[in-house]
Symmetry: C2
Subunit: 331 residues, 2 copies
């Protein structure tokens, strides 16, 4: 195994978030799944956009958000994801590169356009996401550079991207390339709906020992294990992965690595503005600690600090000096 030249390489959806505050009544009127992520087609995306108030566009995508946090914390990162050859694709590419992240996936010509996620943010800061996947679901395995993947300490994959066929095949190849080079594979389960569709795949990957670090929230933990009780879920899943990290919103997070178990409370936040990206940035903080060899507790704390920063403002990309915030908390 040669020296790693990257800390983390991620494969994920290349999405621009279109975000607007919204009254609780609008969530009901539009029949949205409050707090969830729903895939939408062109017609539904148009209908929802027409109903949305004045918005702002901020680059998003789960794994891309995680990389933005990692890069802000000083990690060397690369991203693989599919944009279209259009203005929103330029926005996504600009923002990820401007964050110091390598991004070499060529834009895809023609329809469909770059993915966008219409996010309605209710007064309590909860985000309700409606994703039009567009070009993102056509990431081909040919877009992978296996040498680059093999050069990263960690390959990070988002469960959301397991749903479309081409990226799923690409991710399977990436796992082979990473593990073949003796690297680690980190995976986030992303959302309960993904588990409902691909839970068998995920359980098979875990059973085959192909996932080294698994991220989930409490809902996803329950969906994957079938255990409603949080501790029972942890007990069922932890023995099957080298590192298990489970977040549970305001109740903090737990990590288990073999015989070691660590737990942290959520970091205090003056006011929750928008929870978009909380899980993504938790993963960023945790992985930033992991690649520099920190203890489980420190990794969790770094995750909690990054998550607290992201929910204190609109958008899922860090705005504050994450590095300084983390340094102030864990040194």
């Amino acid at each position: 195994m040669s020296d790693a030249t990257l800390d983390v390489i991620a494969i994920g959806n290349a999405i621009v978030d279109v975000m607007a505050p919204c009254a609780d009544a609008l969530i009901e009127k539009l029949d949205l799944v409050r707090g969830g992520m729903t895939l939408v087609d062109t017609a539904r995306a148009q209908e929802l956009y027409d109903a949305m108030g004045p918005a702002r566009e901020i680059s998003g995508g789960s794994a891309a958000n995680t990389l933005a946090g990692l890069a802000a914390l000083g990690a060397r990162c690369a991203f693989i994801g599919q944009v279209a050859d259009d203005q929103l694709g330029e926005v996504f590419a600009h923002d990820i590169r401007a964050g110091g992240i390598d991004f070499a996936t060529a834009a895809r010509a023609g329809d469909p356009p770059t993915a966008r996620c219409l996010i309605f943010v209710t007064p309590d800061g909860q985000r309700t996401m409606n994703t039009f996947l567009g070009a993102s679901q056509f990431l081909p395995a040919a877009a992978l550079d296996e040498t680059v993947i093999a050069s990263a300490k960690v390959l990070y994959l988002e469960g959301y991207l397991w749903d479309p066929e081409e990226p799923r095949a690409a991710m399977r190849r990436a796992i082979e390339a990473s593990r073949g080079a003796g690297r680690k594979v980190a995976f986030t389960l992303s959302d309960a709906f993904v588990i409902s569709r691909h839970g068998d795949d995920f359980r098979a990957l875990i059973a085959a020992g192909q996932i080294d670090i698994l991220f989930a929230n409490n809902t996803e933990l329950a969906a994957l294990t079938g255990e409603v009780d949080f501790d029972a879920g942890i007990a069922a899943l932890a023995p099957k992965v080298p590192v298990l990290v489970v977040t549970r919103g305001a109740a903090g997070a737990v990590a288990v690595a073999g015989a070691e178990r660590a737990e942290v409370a959520a970091e205090p936040v003056a006011r929750v503005i928008d929870t978009t990206g909380a899980g993504d940035l938790f993963a960023a903080g945790f992985l930033a600690g992991h690649v520099r060899g920190e203890s489980l507790t420190t990794c969790l704390t770094m995750g909690a600090v990054a998550a607290a920063e992201i929910i204190s403002h609109y958008g899922a990309r860090p705005e504050a000096e994450l590095k300084a915030l983390v340094a102030a908390r864990v040194g």
Copy 2:
């Protein structure tokens, strides 16, 4: 003169702002005019975008921002401005309509793309704007519906748009249509560079009695009158327009209407985040008061409240409930 069905109709640049925080050193390195507005071509826009950090996109445009504030304050508004038939054009059109503003100008096919303004925001909240005008400068006079213009109490024009030839001709026709219907014309001088290029036009419009309400900041006042002293500038210009409104940043604002003079301090702001749109929203608050017949002092106070809201966050479109903020201050 028939009853007005609109309070304010505005003609302005249809721009999407691309905004990012930036260190003071980058302003120097890129040779930017700190605090100013500079027009840029395609190559320079690309160069600046490449140098910019991760950004967010929020609809902008001076007069369009003013309308967004007016609509938030309950005024009935319409906007005329040129976008291209592209994704940023869709973003602009969505945001202005979602704000409750009529917008009927057809998108322009082909190149150039929709206008964007690359805004670098330094740690003191000062914004440095670099505008790629794109489609915006090709607004044709044919895009005007003179019946609609004649139905608005106030026609509001931004000086920025006086620079390109087609919109200038369109604005001259709009002035005729508005005044022919016995309505009022409001004009903002926008920026000292506009005055350096078109000051003679503006002085001629004023001398011909074609401007009823004139908005300027202290720099523009000096550029238009040649008077360096603030009070001397006011004394020189006020007799020539029915209503003169001059802002001077943190020092507040002055309005003169015939023999009446009013002055307000700036409203307190906990922390200035981004001054983009301060003048635009001041005009919004003032005009909202004007169309409902408020006193000069109340109009100024409404302007100050709206300006204070906009500089407390990123972007030049109001985020808070402006109506409630104004009601709390002036009833």
